[in-house]
Amino acid sequence: MKKSINPTFPLLITILFFSACSSVQITEEAVADQSVAGVSITPKSTATQAVLANAVVYFDYDQSNLTAKSIQALKGVSELMNRNSKISLSIEGHADERGTREYNLALGQRRAESVANYLVANGINRNRLITKSYGEERPLSLGSNNTAWSKNRRVEIK
């Protein structure tokens, strides 16, 4: 878990007479655990984690549909889920930095849904899956070029 940073800003000192405002700090305790919609994500064995780490799904610019390549990547996940009925997954969608932030958040969600829908179509119960989006907020690759962008248009499964 990331540690939150205590900021010190030289400009922060003066409290203006007419425009009082308070600063709020989000501390570690405030960051809740990763449960969404009543589904808690199961802890995973190293082996499982390895399978999932390999199953990153990539997308074309502006697109949220699965390519043949991504379907390949998901086969392993599908099998894993069918073998072990206790596993639940967190499917996290992302987008590259181009375009507006909120639209990218929604696009990341669509990508996550695409992956979830594929797994459901392969016999996996929907309530074993949580989808969420980070839009462009968690890029894997920093940089404003095609390589970086293509790496960021992804869905990660955890």
Binding site: K2, F9, S23, V24, E102, Y103, L105, T131
Partner: protein
């Protein structure tokens, strides 16, 4: 013969019936008001600071040209009247003079505006304040000058919200929701977090902020009171919520929910937290924003196959979304101009670059107003004359702005990167 004469008159006077000569002007060029501001007397140090701030405020509007200090003439008063001729010769339109009155518990400014063409004083004004408030007083004075001359309300005394991101040596990010004056001064931290903060939105009364925070692991909308820091999640649901936008009367918040897994727009009534669904179709619907009168909503929808701008009339019983952007394959994050004459939004041109664009309601083409590569998140000033937005210079994100009259300015971060600006309403 009378017939011929009146015919002649008619030819020259197509519209007016009082027999006035009627002429048509069809072309002109561009130029700001030329204003001279003499250093205000009374307190040398305060005067310098005041002058600097006012100068910057007025130049930033793009509608004023402030005479360089070196070129200022001494103000000549003869028989209680200002001697106008010298200023006239310099091509000055208006002269501003003033006095700073400083005492233990007050700092007031008296200023006067002279119309050089009309050869008379057109405004005497006083701004009341307290010591240590010189910046705010300067902004009030700038706004007073701007409004006296243009008839338009000034925005120097408004404020900005934006998000700041700093990466440490391990490239771990920390995020802050910031508040500052319209010129970027007086930065204050409203929220510090190790998780992303996006989409800050002002309440119309300027007392509260809504924003999206990822602190619980997913996107959630919070409302925070600026002075007390008190905050709460808008809905206790465990699902993702984003894209908050306040209604002009402050009673509603439009939001994007992902309940069926697809981004859809809802309106939340703050009083009792009841939700009303506004869109229901297979594609993305997000980035809602309200019209100044609160009867319409703009939003971005992917329903035509690519992001475009749509409008919903809330007065109708079953409002149908009306598409209003037709140029290009990406139009998003629209907001109305305060007079509803048009909209400002992000547009992707055919070369794939993102710009801030303007489309007037009665025109069927768009005007591209910026020229960097990845311009985003525009926010319109409450007088409709300026827009602030995010740009990327090299690797760094910063804020930039322009006035419709063509002025440009930049607001780089004091530390790290800044983005997602939101311009407040008028605060006084």
């Amino acid at each position: 013969m009378k017939k011929n004469l009146s015919l002649a008159v008619l030819l020259l006077v197509p519209i007016f019936s009082y027999g006035e000569l009627f002429l048509e002007i069809t072309k002109g060029s561009e130029d700001p008001y030329k204003v001279a501001i003499t250093p205000f007397t009374g307190n040398l140090k305060a005067s310098k600071q005041l002058n600097n701030i006012m100068r910057n405020d007025l130049i930033r509007t793009g509608e004023f040209e402030i005479l360089d200090e070196e070129l200022l003439l001494p103000v000549k008063i003869v028989n209680d009247e200002l001697v106008y001729s010298d200023w006239k010769l310099m091509g000055i339109d208006y002269l501003v003079t003033g006095v700073i009155i400083n005492s233990n518990n007050s700092l007031d400014i008296n200023y006067e505006i002279y119309d050089i063409h009309k050869k008379k004083k057109v405004r005497t004004s006083k701004v009341f304040g307290i010591p240590n408030q010189i910046r705010q007083l300067a902004h009030y004075t700038s706004d007073g000058i701007y409004e006296s001359i243009t008839g338009i309300k000034g925005i120097a005394a408004t404020r900005l919200l934006y998000v700041n991101e700093i990466k440490d040596s391990q490239l771990n990010s920390s995020y802050k929701l910031m508040l500052a004056d319209s010129d970027g001064a007086n930065e204050k931290i409203l929220l510090s977090s190790s998780e992303p903060i996006i989409s800050p939105s002002w309440s119309p009364d300027g007392q509260r902020v809504a924003y999206v925070s990822f602190e619980t692991g997913i996107a959630k909308v919070f409302i925070q009171d600026i002075s007390s820091g008190k905050r709460e999640a808008v809905l206790s649901k465990d699902s993702q919520i984003s894209s908050p936008s306040w209604s002009p009367d402050g009673k509603y918040l439009s939001l994007t929910l992902y309940q069926d897994g697809n981004a859809e727009i809802y309106i939340l009534r703050l009083r009792d937290r009841t939700l009303t669904r506004m869109t229901n179709q297979f594609a993305i619907d997000t980035e809602s924003s309200w019209s100044p009168k609160g009867n319409k909503i703009l939003f971005t929808s992917g329903r035509s196959g690519s992001p475009q701008i749509y409008e919903l009339d809330l007065r109708k019983l079953n409002p149908k979304a009306k598409r209003i952007s037709f140029e290009g394959t990406y139009n998003a994050k629209a907001s109305y101009l305060p007079n509803e004459e048009g909209i400002i939004f992000v547009h992707r041109s055919s070369d794939g670059l993102f710009h801030i664009a303007l489309k007037y309601k009665k025109e069927n083409f768009i005007r591209i107003l910026t020229e960097a590569k990845m311009d985003e998140s525009p926010s319109v000033a409450p007088n409709g004359n300026m827009v602030i937005y995010g740009i990327k210079e090299g690797d760094l994100s910063m804020l930039a702005g322009f006035s419709l009259s063509g002025a440009r300015f930049k607001l780089p971060a004091s530390n790290g990167e800044v983005r997602e600006p939101a311009w407040s309403n008028f605060l006084r």
